[in-house]
């Protein structure tokens, strides 16, 4: 039986309570909205890139501890990465939270994002963990219709965001 502590690690509780990089990023050159219609989680993501490198990421919105912590940890993990690296990171992260880690092959090290590994044991919460990432992809594509995570509902289905380059 999966333990609650596997899902709600201290780091998640901390980032859920005190999200980093929370708020509007005035000089963002990309932004997108993410919405989880099933539970009402909403996120607005602001991304500042220069010559293909992500310089800063901010977000605001409402959501559960998992979606807020995931957005917060993502915002930290992305700084200084190229857009291609960010996508590779999402692939690795998606495999992690859907329990398909082996299938993803060798990707970039996930670092602190590993703390969300427990989500794989709680399939109903996968969409909470991936909302920010789907929204990131939309932001980098300057997609102006809000993204949703509905298809992440079923464990094992492919991610819903448009523009996935790898397993999409």
């Amino acid at each position: 039986m999966p333990e609650l502590r596997d899902l709600y690690q201290e780091l998640i509780i901390d980032h859920g309570r005190r999200p980093r990089n929370y708020g509007v990023l005035a000089d963002a050159n990309h932004q997108a909205e993410g919405f989880n219609p099933l539970c009402g989680d909403r996120i607005r993501l602001f991304v500042k890139t220069r010559e293909g490198v992500i310089e800063d990421v901010h977000f605001e919105g409402t959501g559960c501890a998992i979606s807020t912590a995931s957005a917060s940890l993502m915002s930290e993990a992305l700084k200084g990465r190229t857009e291609a690296e960010a996508r590779a990171l999402f692939d690795g992260f998606h495999a992690l939270v859907t329990g398909h880690e082996g299938a993803a092959g060798a990707g970039p090290p996930l670092g602190k994002l590993e703390v969300l590994a427990g989500v794989a044991e709680f399939p109903a919460r996968v969409k909470c963990a991936t909302l920010a990432w789907h929204t990131l992809v939309a932001a980098l594509h300057d997609q102006h219709t809000p993204v949703t995570t509905e298809r992440d509902e079923q464990p094992g289905t492919e991610p819903a965001a448009t523009g996935r380059t790898a397993d999409g």
Binding site: L4, R17, C39, G40, C64, I66, A124, R125
Partner: protein
């Protein structure tokens, strides 16, 4: 035949129910309640989403496929006749259950959503630009969106009765919003997200005084209170079978005969026609005009068994038991630190919606699930209502006749885990 469902049902009746105390024994009628979740006994408090099924309902559905299965209203062969008799018998049971005047007023549908779509499409076919449809701020999306679609098609306008801080309808506003252009009032009998029981008799009387017909969404009402469509004097009554201990994909639309007769068909196909030619098709009589295609025959028959079952348990006993559970849960909720009840109407069905300070409903839901307690978390398909109360999501515990005070205690014991996981900081 040891497992004859009729025999079993008869045995059930012989056991009797009587006073509310006996209702606890009914728990044994529901086989799924014996299972575990995360090695803990299942505490099922998501009855507002769907209820569990008693053995007699499961048996009737199985019996149909094992002994009666054939298409209805078609064959001259024996099985078709028996299936038709059972299916039409289910209609008689539904008529009796709702105390409708005529069996022709009972249309079998897939559920409440389909029932409302039927009315919005068929009755709504006559809406004209500037007409008004009056709904309320506590409707389920299924009693909002079909009307929005009807309004888009016709140019009619959707008007909404506001909800106060307790979760009760603003009756004054209802009176004001009823206008000479109002073509229909569509409102919920019991709110799925708040539990509010609306004063539907009074509202129907006021609408009728202006010549406006009323549709009641009874999805959350039928499991809890006896419905008498004549006493209510409603024009349409819609409900789902699966919240009434019956199968999914079943439901009933009651419609006043004169209205149904004047309405055009909604879906076309087999069974709803009298004569078809490429030049002209004439439609079947009520209720078949609204039952195109092969219906959910087994489902309707099993739904009728569910209706018999709840009547046998008795709505007085059910209401007394569920109110005791709601009172127990409400008192515990009021004493729980940081808990805010959403929906505190004076008249409530056994639904407890709440939020916890600083912890999102989904996190609460996962923690409760881990403890074996099944609740619904989210917006309950009532986003405008959630917005009205300034919350994105709530936790909803909803009770059924088989729930116990131990279930209520288990819910609050599981809620104690939330601060343990999230800390008090």
């Amino acid at each position: 035949m040891r497992d004859d469902p009729k025999e079993r049902a008869a045995l059930g009746r012989a056991a009797g129910t009587g006073p509310a105390g006996d209702i606890v024994r009914r728990r044994a009628d529901f086989p799924i309640l014996a299972r575990t979740v995360n090695d803990r006994p299942l505490v099922y408090l998501d009855n507002g989403a769907t209820s569990q099924k008693p053995q007699c309902v499961i048996d009737v559905e199985t019996h149909y496929y094992e002994h009666l299965n054939a298409n209805v209203h078609r064959g001259v062969h024996r099985l078709s006749q028996e299936a038709t008799d059972a299916y039409e018998g289910a209609r008689d049971t539904a008529r009796e259950f709702l105390n409708a005047v005529q069996r022709e007023e009972i249309v079998f549908v897939r559920g409440t959503t389909e029932a409302i779509n039927l009315v919005a499409n068929s009755f709504g076919a006559r809406f004209r630009a500037g007409d008004e449809v009056l709904i309320t701020g506590m409707e389920h999306h299924s009693n909002i969106v079909p009307w929005q679609l009807a309004c888009e098609r016709s140019g009619a306008v959707l008007k909404v009765v506001p909800v106060d801080d307790r979760g009760e309808l603003d009756i004054e506003a209802f009176g004001t919003l009823l206008s000479p252009r109002t073509r229909i009032v569509a409102l919920t009998h019991v709110s799925n997200a708040l539990g509010t029981i609306n004063p539907v008799r009074e509202l129907i009387a006021r609408a009728h005084a202006r010549g406006v017909p009323v549709l009641l969404d009874g999805a959350q009402a039928v499991p809890h209170v006896a419905i008498d469509v004549q006493a209510l004097d409603c024009d349409f009554y819609a409900f789902s079978g699966h919240k009434l201990y019956g199968p999914t994909g079943t439901g009933v639309l009651y419609g006043r005969r004169a209205l149904l007769e004047a309405m055009p068909p909604w879906q076309g196909g087999g069974d709803m026609i009298r004569q078809v030619s490429f030049a002209h098709t004439t439609y079947n009589d009520l209720p078949y005009k609204f039952e195109a295609g092969t219906p959910n025959i087994a489902g309707a028959i099993a739904l009728a068994e569910a209706m018999r079952y709840v009547r046998e348990v008795g709505f007085d006993a059910i209401a007394a038991h569920e109110h005791a559970l709601l009172r127990d849960a409400t008192e515990r909720a009021q004493a729980f630190p940081g808990l805010r009840l959403i929906g505190t109407a004076r008249e409530k069905a056994a639904i407890l919606s709440f939020v916890l300070e600083d912890v999102h409903a989904h996190d609460v839901g996962s923690i409760l699930d881990h403890e074996g307690v099944a609740v619904r978390t989210g917006h309950h398909c009532a986003m405008p209502l959630m917005e009205r109360f300034g919350v994105a999501a709530t936790v909803r515990a909803s009770f059924a006749l088989y729930n116990t005070h131990e279930d209520v205690a288990a819910l609050f014991a599981a809620l104690e885990k939330v601060p343990e996981v999230f800390g008090d900081a």
